[in-house]
Symmetry: C2
Subunit: 446 residues, 2 copies
Amino acid sequence: MFSKYKWVCSLAIFLCLMSNWITGGEGNEGGNMVKNLRVNPERLYERIMALSKIGETPDGGVNRVAYSEEDMQGRQFIISLMRKLGLSITIDEAANIIGTLKGRDPSRPPILFGSHIDTVPNSGKYDGALGVLGALECIEVLVENNVVPDHTLQVVVFTDEEGGLAGSRAMVGELDAPALKVVSQSGKTIREGIKALGGNPDNLVNAVKKKGDFKAFIELHIEQGSILVSKNVQIGIVQGIVGINRWDVFIEGAANHAGTTPMNMRRDALLAAAHLIIEINRLVRGTPGNQVATVGKISAHPGAVNVIPGSVLMSLEIRDLSSKKIQWIFNWIEKKASEIAQKTETQITFKAIDVTALPAPTYPGIRKVISEVAEELGLTSLSMPSGAGHDAQEMARITRIGMIFIPSVGGISHSPKEYSRKSDIVNGVNVLLHTILKIDSGALHR
Amino acid sequence: MFSKYKWVCSLAIFLCLMSNWITGGEGNEGGNMVKNLRVNPERLYERIMALSKIGETPDGGVNRVAYSEEDMQGRQFIISLMRKLGLSITIDEAANIIGTLKGRDPSRPPILFGSHIDTVPNSGKYDGALGVLGALECIEVLVENNVVPDHTLQVVVFTDEEGGLAGSRAMVGELDAPALKVVSQSGKTIREGIKALGGNPDNLVNAVKKKGDFKAFIELHIEQGSILVSKNVQIGIVQGIVGINRWDVFIEGAANHAGTTPMNMRRDALLAAAHLIIEINRLVRGTPGNQVATVGKISAHPGAVNVIPGSVLMSLEIRDLSSKKIQWIFNWIEKKASEIAQKTETQITFKAIDVTALPAPTYPGIRKVISEVAEELGLTSLSMPSGAGHDAQEMARITRIGMIFIPSVGGISHSPKEYSRKSDIVNGVNVLLHTILKIDSGALHR
């Protein structure tokens, strides 16, 4: 009896493995069955809505700042899903959640994909949530269709993306002691926050991955701008994540009585600032390319209605995919500023405050795969920079990265009004699914 | 023995009175003795320096804000001087100090002159102090030369000029209940302050003067600008105190991500503000006249280095001697603003916040007297507006006003660096002295 049972069992396991192999084989060889895999729109959409209930605000927004109670609940929601999908779950020392689906060949490095579920205060439903739930939907489609990839697949939920990419920086060995002391939106320091999420901030070195540890990292995200929407394109193929340079701009004139100082005897720092703001805009708009420059902060001193501004402090930020171009634009702005300073009898000085991010180009081979996938799925696509920062930019230090964008209606992000259409969401996750599958099948080695 | 003594005494008194009458008579008829009267430069200058010790700051400035301990000490200094000069002293219900030198003809209304001794925080030595100590110097010159004017002369020290002309507003019946509740720089409310100085804020009506109560009001002041200095002119004949209109300017664009929003898809409120600031300056400089317009305050919201400003709030102030011209300029600015709003896809609205002051023209007859006096003293003079507010503008509601300006080196005022040359100070007080004497002799009735 025992032996007969054993035989039946063995046969069942053999058939099971065979079926799996055949299906998987078809997938890896681009068979029709795998080619026809599509995500489940209802399931995906319902999960996005379900996650958005955690930290929901009265105006339909989401408040789920990193390390908050809501963040912890959101993470539990994701962990439950991963468990249901049979993934093995790791919380690394930086509290990144990694769900692993074992691949056929353990010698191959895993393909990593995912995003984050934390939000800025009073944000929207989509942002990072899409990249995480989209990744899990991809896994679910594979699991329910018994597709076993060659590579191990890992879905990552990075810790505290919005507060400064804490999780991905830790993973590439860039989250240092001073960063751990920063007080996050939750009120906790990053160190306290990581601890609260189950990480071990004293031993971050164990979370560090090195070159070769991953095959690639793919992140699906909403555009957070209006390029795709305005051009009516379905998929954005990210060329790279722009570099960001920032300066404090000081303009020194002379504060004086607004009643007794004739117009031609003024050294009005705010007038000089106005000229500079216009010149910055004129230059950056007039130069071919996707560079952007922004003056977001300004203060005039002493700042009284009846005193001519004696000094102005304002911010300048320039973003582009090329560090060289950022420098070229800045040099030109500095030149213009000195002309303005002379004309307005002021002094204008620039102080670089930090290089928040170097440009992080995506891997050309992955861009090609995304483009092919979009075409095969009958979707329109275009190449575009990511003007916003993402965990992918940190991951670029140790692996090939790719990013897929979908349209944000009205270009609105980090707001309760943030919205992506269901059809665009489904398209994006289908592109993610087939990008992963193509990379799994060796598309980067053609 | 007693009778002989009595006779000698009577003779002495008679001679004394005769001498006084003859001198006074000469003065009133423009006799040489009176024409040659000049202030005592050393005495005047020493008193200005002495008063500046009360509230002196380490950097040579003066902190004597209204109602403070220093203000009280400064007032005691003035009262002692008045007492020494034999003036009868009144503290009215608004705590204005009035020192009276009786004139020959009690039926004639007094000629009022003076200024204030309170300062803004960390201010300079000259400002109002010059007008008060200059007035007392004029009295001293008359007293020591036994000149008795036809009109009673009154030297006034107005309460809290810098905080909003409290004393002069009370004198013309314009200091109302809400104004008394305002908290002054001293920390006291105006009501508490007036009480602390010996006034009676509950009975201000008794301090109110009406039309006809004064012959005229004359105020000597530093220019607080650089018109006289830059043109190398010694005496400013004030045409009037400018009217001031103020607006809050709201600019509404769209806050958006500074990385993901292309330059041509932005509705940058700060860019619109920059265009408006430049247009305001261009218009006001390009229009003939002495009008001034100032944007002194600005804030951009949300005010983050990485967010395109969604809205801007800034101040606009226009000053001119003519209310009509202020309105004309404002209308033009509003028109330009609507063009800018269209071009930048923003909305620009103006909200008048208050009419701080209507223009207060000086009395033409007094301007003529000042001009003649300057010429007779061999001093250069020019007509100019007062861009700053003064107690004279309130006094204009009930009497003829005149203002005499002297140069401020570098045009600096309300600062420890405020400085007027001794020679200019002496010139100014001599002009004040002879302006009073000419008015006393009937110059306004020619």
